[in-house]
Symmetry: C2
Amino acid sequence: MAHADFPLHRPELLESLCRGDMLLDQAMSSDRRRFRRGDEIIQTGVASDTVFRLVSGWVARSRVLQDGRRSIIMMFLPRDLFGVKTFLLTEQPDSIECLADAVVLAIKHDQLRQLFETEPSVALRIAFQLGEDERRMHNYIIGLGRASAEERIATMLIETHGRLVKAGICANGSYSLPLTQQDIGDLVGLTVVHVNRVLRRLNADGLVSFTRGMVQISDIAALYKKAEPILDAYERAQPEFGGGDSAPSHPS
Amino acid sequence: MAHADFPLHRPELLESLCRGDMLLDQAMSSDRRRFRRGDEIIQTGVASDTVFRLVSGWVARSRVLQDGRRSIIMMFLPRDLFGVKTFLLTEQPDSIECLADAVVLAIKHDQLRQLFETEPSVALRIAFQLGEDERRMHNYIIGLGRASAEERIATMLIETHGRLVKAGICANGSYSLPLTQQDIGDLVGLTVVHVNRVLRRLNADGLVSFTRGMVQISDIAALYKKAEPILDAYERAQPEFGGGDSAPSHPS
DNA sequence: CGTCGGCTTGAGGGAAATCAAACGATGTGG
DNA sequence: CCACATCGTTTGATTTCCCTCAAGCCGACG
């Protein structure tokens, strides 16, 4: 794994971070599990003693209210750790749900605790994950609280793109996003109907096409412009417009 | 400080948690600072090497977008730690702002790191803070994404009440909330005008009165009922209706 | 071939935003 | 002490963004 996977954060920690990442991978490699769309990896209200790492597929933290309203709190992408919160909370307020067939690695709490007591770099890797999750959540809160439907969807598409590029999964502005429009609505706080209309409009305007779980960003500059007010400094610093094929350049 | 301050989380950690809390207090007690409404304790885009603990007053994490839209990401209440994220991120995406005159304790990164390398209980206390922040943010995301204006405001009032009761600052359903209605709007993702209307309606219906920075919950059961769908299991488990004056009873 | 889940589109309604203005407190300077 | 400015609250009128309801469509699958 390249150093570039953890960009822009306190550079003096980078080496340790990568080491922790690797050690964690090793320690988890023996417990590999598969899930299918719809599976609950961690259930609401049930205690869990396991921490996971996504290898491939799509997994999200979500909650369904009594009256059926559903909310996707955050998406996990390959290489992300999830379920770390189970360390502190006995009862999980929300569930971790599989949105598209996924492969994950798993490790038990006690084993993990042992590991990071002897290996500070593993603790750092976990702290880094928590920090990233937190940063992203701050952005979601701002988006949900203050952004229009169009801004939310544009932001979601740009943010996902950026994360996938970092993870080395996406190249030329096109990526697989195997969510239903309902899922997207639950993620950005809109109804399916409205998600569809916005998506359709973006498509008509030649910015993005989204069909059959595939996103194709045609005009990333224009899409980026819509998302920009909602992005934070870290997301602005790295829009590798189109991925590895051309030299990344900083906007603004 | 009582054990009851960290309720409901993995009980086997409680003792260590309290110890960490106390040690942290000791270590920070030498650097005490004051801020006034409007001060920026941590500025957007500026590196910080300090972690804070709120003693009294009101402090929030907030961000202002280029076009002036403002968003309050989360509120800190007395005893909370904040600025922990500066450990990992060099550049702060948002600012920590003082909303009502506050007293805080401060500690430098290197000193804190030293402390929790020798004292695991301090690391635990910090992890606990991060976990609590995260849990609360999940709830905000759900509220912002899926709740009506009334639900958001009711939830905010109930949540704040619950936290203040836990901190021992609030007794009989009445507490000081020295925010402007604009602040509240930025916190729950509404405009001032609409916040005012909802507040007014809740008041007319005899649920809450909010005047001059004082909240008086008159009908906590009814208010709770409005907030309930948005609360998580932890917040539901501890509505000490009205505090010490009457026997606390569980709703529903 | 029929059913089902997800997408698409239209029509209409409603919750919250926007625009606008008045009001009340608080503070400040003449 | 009063005139005046400022800041926050309150209320009304109007607009708009998004939701709700409803129905048709398409592709996947048994």
